[in-house]
């Protein structure tokens, strides 16, 4: 088409635009036809929207998890109120760092599985109760098989709850209050599993684990455990570029009267931080900068 323009370069530009449009449309058509044959071969190659560390701790009577509520898009703070810890029924609590979309898919998988197992009573491995330890084993199988197809769930997951026991017949069950111990396990994106009393994912492994390992005792009370986790989350906020002070705690314990497992996730709240150290507030001896030149 020709515009009523006297300018030669403008008509050249119009022709260029038309040609480019034509080429783009053709290219996208071509792409669409080949894309449909490779549609099922999408692989997670790098994380886009990520969450940072999750920190977990076994105390006397249960397990605590803590995580912040920040989602990062590279160096941008995408969302300040994401839920990175979730309680699945009254069986266990799961939290994850890494790619958030993979975590959301994982939650759907776990919730569907939990629903079918508790409603039908048919649980894998002949178990009678869904426990954190059995879920951790299931996640290991799931993550490893995804990794073998070169399409991992790009997450490090912490599973908190209670462990398995073997009953008199040798079957694996959830156990009762006297026999089943609090359980904390981690699965990483290639299917490595670790379980222990103090675990952390992501940056938390560098910053929070030394603190947890130093301060952990088998007879920690819930108050001490919460204070220790809050200290860890505060250090993470101070030293991890992708962390925020708005955190959530989650707890799995046994009800004192019935002995059944109870999960609870707290509302998000903001950690207190102190910025009034004398060294920060005043320059030392009137020096500009750091005194060097």
């Amino acid at each position: 088409m020709r515009l009523t323009s006297k300018n030669k370069s403008s008509s050249l530009a119009t022709t260029c635009i038309t040609v480019t449009l034509f080429v783009t449309i053709m290219a996208s058509l071509i792409q669409a036809t080949t894309a449909s044959s490779s549609f099922h071969r999408e692989h997670t190659t790098r994380p886009m929207v990520t969450g940072t560390s999750v920190v977990g701790l076994v105390y006397n009577g249960g397990v605590l998890l803590a995580a912040d509520t920040l989602l990062s898009y590279g160096s941008m703070a995408k969302s300040q109120n994401a839920e990175r810890i979730k309680a699945i029924g009254n069986s266990f609590v799961v939290g994850a760092s890494g790619e958030y979309s993979d975590y959301m898919k994982l939650l759907r998988v776990l919730e569907d599985k939990h629903l079918s197992e508790t409603r039908t009573g048919i649980i894998e491995d002949g178990q009678t109760e869904v426990t954190a330890e059995s879920t951790w084993n299931y996640l290991r199988m799931l993550f490893y098989s995804k990794r073998n197809k070169m399409n991992p769930y790009w997450n490090e997951v912490l599973v908190a709850g209670f462990g398995n026991v073997k009953d008199a017949a040798g079957a694996t069950t959830g156990g009762d209050g006297e026999t089943s111990k609090p359980f904390l396990g981690m699965v990483d994106k290639i299917g490595t599993t670790v379980s222990g009393n103090t675990l952390a994912t992501g940056f938390g492994a560098w910053l929070a684990l030394p603190l947890l390992r130093e301060k952990w005792r088998p007879d920690l009370t819930e108050g001490e455990a919460r204070a220790l986790l809050e200290d860890c989350m505060r250090v993470l906020f101070l030293r991890d570029c992708r962390a925020s002070p708005r955190i959530q705690l989650a707890k799995v314990t046994r009800d004192v009267t019935t002995g059944s497992v109870v999960t609870a996730v707290s509302d998000p709240y903001i950690l207190e931080t102190q910025w009034d150290s004398a060294e920060f507030m005043r320059p030392v001896a009137g020096l500009e900068g750091d005194g060097g030149w």
Binding site: P210, R234, V235, G291, G292
Partner: protein, 291 residues
């Protein structure tokens, strides 16, 4: 005469490294690998790094520096009890992380420059002087001198702790950590440090911080060195203040065969002969004339 002329534009400061041989070295390595039939590859020698956890903090009466004592060469422990807190001046010490040779020699060089300056000025060295000398040298080498330092000292202006990075940037802090174990040590400081600590509290905190690095970081290990520099001028260099990784008891548990400790008289003597050296009295001394 013409080559000796100096004008205001010619610099008398030496420049950094020359990388003229980089291509040649890479070619030598690949040629050696192509030529050799062995399965192992030929590599250039690896610099001994210090892995490391080093910390420094300011308290009410001075400065405390702490360090671990493991030096690594790749994945192997090269030295189990090396010294990472280096002397700079009577009132200043510097803990170094990174390449061991770089930290040793950089601090030695600046220490000698400070000593010469003290002889010239008849005044004690200031911490900012050491800071400036160190950062100017490190910047000149554009980070290729891999020395990450924590400089701590006390002068007329009070106690100071500085961070110095290999590229030459510096910052002044109340508490600092460097090295591979710095994250573990920093988590201890961030939860425990506050204004107005006493010396004993500071020492306990520094020990905890370096221990966090020693036990949670694989590049740090063995023992813990401490150095306390006080505002009243006294310095307390405590080498191997804490030894949490003693292997003496483990070694003592090894049962060795009795054959390895032989008592006297086990070996029978079959024959002995004795011939004394001739003394001067038995030898004719001959005067030799100088020719």
């Amino acid at each position: 005469m013409s080559e000796q002329t100096q004008n205001i534009f010619s610099s008398t400061v030496p420049s950094g490294f020359s990388f003229a041989n980089t291509h040649r070295n890479a070619n030598l390595v690949s040629a050696a690998n192509a030529a050799s039939n062995k399965s192992s590859t030929v590599r250039l020698a690896q610099a001994k790094k210090t892995g490391t956890t080093i910390v420094g903090m300011v308290f009410a009466g001075g400065v405390i520096l702490g360090a671990d004592t493991r030096a690594t060469s790749g994945e192997e422990v090269a030295e189990k009890n090396c010294q990472k807190i280096h002397y700079l001046a009577p009132n200043m010490y510097c803990a170094g992380a990174g390449t061991a040779a770089d930290t040793d020699k950089t601090t030695e060089l600046i220490s000698s420059q400070l000593a010469l300056l003290r002889l010239d000025t008849h005044l004690p060295s200031r911490v900012v002087t050491a800071l400036t000398l160190l950062k100017r040298m490190l910047f000149r080498y554009q980070g290729h001198v891999s020395a990450a330092l924590i400089l701590g000292g006390v002068d007329i202006q009070g106690p100071h702790v500085y961070h110095i990075y290999p590229h030459g940037s510096t910052s002044k802090l109340s508490y600092a950590t460097m090295g591979s174990g710095s994250v573990a040590a920093m988590s201890v400081f961030e939860t425990s440090w506050r204004d107005g600590l006493t010396e004993d509290e500071g020492i306990a905190m520094v020990k905890r911080a370096v221990s966090a690095g020693v036990f949670n970081d694989l590049g740090s290990g063995s023992n813990i060195d401490l150095c306390i520099i006080r505002t009243d001028g006294t310095v307390d260099y405590r080498r191997n203040e804490v030894k949490p990784n003693e292997i003496g008891p483990l070694r003592a548990m090894v049962q060795r065969s009795g054959r390895m400790t032989l008592a006297n008289g086990v070996t029978p003597i079959l024959h002995s002969s004795y011939s004394p050296h001739p003394t001067l009295a038995d030898v004719d001394v001959m005067e030799v004339e100088a020719s």
